[in-house]
Point group: C2
Chain length 282, copies 2
């Protein structure tokens, strides 16, 4: 499947996400990809397998239609601050950060300062492995592509939607940075915090033989990149702390009912959980 998408794309950071995007552009579209990465070995590997057409120098930024920042939040802001003057007014810039309020505010301001266009985005895909070697063209197949327009034109949002579709995403969701961060705190950040908190139990090292799917599912994402996730958590501290409070309260209610031997209260709490899942058809 090759979509009729022909853009000059730049990707900054060829890790799991950037590398997978490069491979997907190569596999599914007619776009050319210029790769930017601080590691020469990664650029070489990406060029060798055809994921990028060329390794980029700063001046190559001036010849792009679409620039994708696939690096950590603060690094993305720093990159644009440093290189913004080279990005042409005709270029659409997007990031891939897992939090949006803090990043979009800064990148929007830089877009206004330097004159290029900006739409925030968040490809909802990942793996337990990191880096270019873990990247694959099919990573985004069926995943959600979250878009925070932040005042961008409908045309720019449509271009990003078309790009996401070409890369294999299953759907685009247009939202505000604030709603994005509130939802992501619940759907993604809490499970990551939880996985780490869970495996710190003294029973964990002995779980083999006593565990099945439940253990595997809750603990899966504890295999975390703590540098990235510390930055993501702290950039979304308000919504995340609020979600963790909610979870701790609900868990405490279950714990209290268990400790008090209160079957009615416990059964009612568990039933409420089941009813939520059922109402969602899950």
């Amino acid at each position: 499947m090759r979509e009729d998408l022909s853009l000059r794309v730049g990707i900054v950071g060829l890790g799991l996400i950037g590398g997978s995007m490069a491979k997907a552009f190569h596999e599914y579209t007619n776009c050319t990809v210029t790769g930017f990465d601080s590691d020469p070995a990664v650029l070489e590997a990406a060029a060798a397998c055809g994921a990028i057409d060329a390794a980029g120098a700063p001046d190559d930024l001036s010849r792009l239609d679409l620039l994708i920042l696939a690096i950590y939040p603060q690094a993305a802001v720093d990159f644009v601050r440093e290189n913004g003057a080279r990005i042409p007014r005709s270029c659409l810039v997007t990031d891939t950060c897992g939090i949006k309020t803090a990043v979009c505010a800064q990148l929007s301001a830089l877009a206004r300062e330097f004159g290029f266009r900006f739409v925030g985005s968040h490809p909802m895909a990942g793996r337990e492995k990191v880096g270019f070697p873990a990247s694959e063209a099919s990573l985004f197949r069926g995943a959600s592509f979250l878009i925070t327009p932040c005042g961008a034109s409908e045309e720019d949002v449509a271009l990003l939607e078309r790009t996401a579709e070409s890369l294999g995403f299953g759907r685009c969701v247009v939202t505000t940075p604030e709603k994005h961060d509130r939802m992501i705190a619940f759907t993604s950040q809490v499970p990551h915090a939880l996985a780490c908190a869970y495996v710190l139990s003294p029973q964990c090292p002995d779980h083999r033989g006593f565990s099945a799917g439940s253990y595997r599912d809750v603990s899966r994402v504890a295999n975390i990149n703590e540098t990235l996730w510390t930055e993501l958590f702290l950039s979304n501290a308000g919504p995340l702390a609020a979600e963790l409070d909610t979870l701790i309260q609900n868990l405490s209610a279950v714990r209290d009912a268990v400790r008090d031997g209160d079957a009615d209260r416990l059964s009612s709490l568990l039933r409420q959980g089941r009813l939520v899942k059922e109402s969602l058809g899950e």
Copy 2:
């Protein structure tokens, strides 16, 4: 694959576990299965598909080599108290309850009273669906079969191990009821409590489009049978409350580090989680 296992087996309760066992005995062994269930329609369905050779009357208990109690903990104890006099001394009785300390103490006492043999067991398998229609012969494939001998002879434990192997279990783990319950509180009960607590967040009904594998994994078992799990939780209140305390403490530590904006503390907590997973080779 038909194992050379020829026992006269009785199964009390043809729900997900008992029904799957009946089907697995039928499919993989030369055992005959007599089924006991309070619902005549279930007995009829089980006989129609060959999962059981016959529906049992109380007197049929006297002709069994192996009796499996695949009903709720209290119901299992009640069944034996009522029918213990009909169980021959040559019959090995086991249960399938997800908690062991409370159940094994009562069933061991009844075994001594009535003279039959007893070994506790817990087939670590399940699905999100319940009842005979959800049962399948392959349910136990690769799963752990936990055995609490409670003073039984090596011969009886070996018979149960051989039976579990025939039914497709991947491994048997022999342990004490106390260790079983402490481990199960962590590996199974906490994830179920957690799933229900998690989906009670006000964000949950809106998760679609913002969620991926992490949400799916943590929320999966919220689709709970609250009657069964209330009984399981309250029968293991001490170990479960202790595990929930541990989790709440560890979650609170993450929440506090997030709220305080303490990158070093947060990163250290997340790294500890990763190191546990890595040390387990997961």
